[in-house]
Symmetry: C2
Subunit: 162 residues, 2 copies
């Protein structure tokens, strides 16, 4: 039996999937409380996934209705503001913990469940931590529970925080 | 936002669902490596769920085929041996870690996914840790992935270890 890696050892990478939900901030808190400690040199990676324009537009799609480029660029801007707001909120949660864990930010784009699983693999993450419900406003409406999918398919231990 | 509980605080209860699979022993290792430390007074609860006789028999059910009471009592005995073997194996994993975490053993009976979720709730567990694949020989054949269900419905943070 291969030995389970200890995240208390140095140099472990923990990905926390964050979005605008209360659940994802709670997941981040859980992670900071339980998977890191002041004497470790782990890296905490905040991962936010923006929906691709095609996905966000199609959720409003209706016969005979076409989005003007103004509407699309307004949605793009709103998307950027959202990333910034979510990251700032996550950093505020992080700042409350007395930890010397390094913080990195990664923003992905596309189908949240696939982007999260691919990113975790690409980064060689040791653990993925995420909230239980939905992932982002648009995706929530479209895709059902992203955490279900990631718990099953991500290639590392996954923590689902309720 | 309610604060996330730290398992590093004293008196937390962590349930690890164990079965005869390699994955569940790996999950136990992960738990001992990452959620407990020598200076905590947490309780680690090993939970094994035996299939109910009805379930294990129906998996072999075929028209015109009836189990004799001998076969049933042989299966009962095999079930007891299995519990004992799994618990011994789990204790051997636990013994390798230098931890003063208390160890408890709970054996349930019935449909693994429901028994696990109910037990976690009844024990007021702070975290559930489990492997990714199946749960027990009989249940694996019948029920598909128990971890999928628990990740969704258990009333505490769930760690799925791959």
């Amino acid at each position: 039996m291969e030995a389970a890696k200890s995240l208390k050892a140095n140099g472990q990478r923990i990905v926390v999937a964050v979005d605008e939900s209360e659940e994802s901030m709670f997941a981040l808190q859980w992670c900071l409380s339980n998977l890191t400690s002041p004497d470790t040199k782990n890296t905490l990676i905040l991962l936010y996934v923006k929906p691709s324009p095609a996905i966000s537009i199609s959720s409003f799609d209706a016969p005979g209705y076409v989005f003007s480029s103004d509407v699309i660029s307004a949605m793009e801007k709103q998307g950027k503001d959202l990333v910034s707001a979510v990251m700032k909120r996550a950093e505020a949660v992080y700042a409350k913990f007395n930890t010397n864990v390094d913080l990195e930010r990664v923003v992905g784009r596309g189908d949240a469940k696939n982007v999260i699983c691919r990113t975790v693999e690409k980064l060689g993450a040791d653990t993925l931590v995420m909230g239980c419900h939905g992932y982002g406003f648009f995706q929530r409406a479209l895709l059902g529970s992203v955490s279900d999918y990631c718990a099953k398919y991500a290639k590392c231990p996954v923590v689902i925080v309720k």
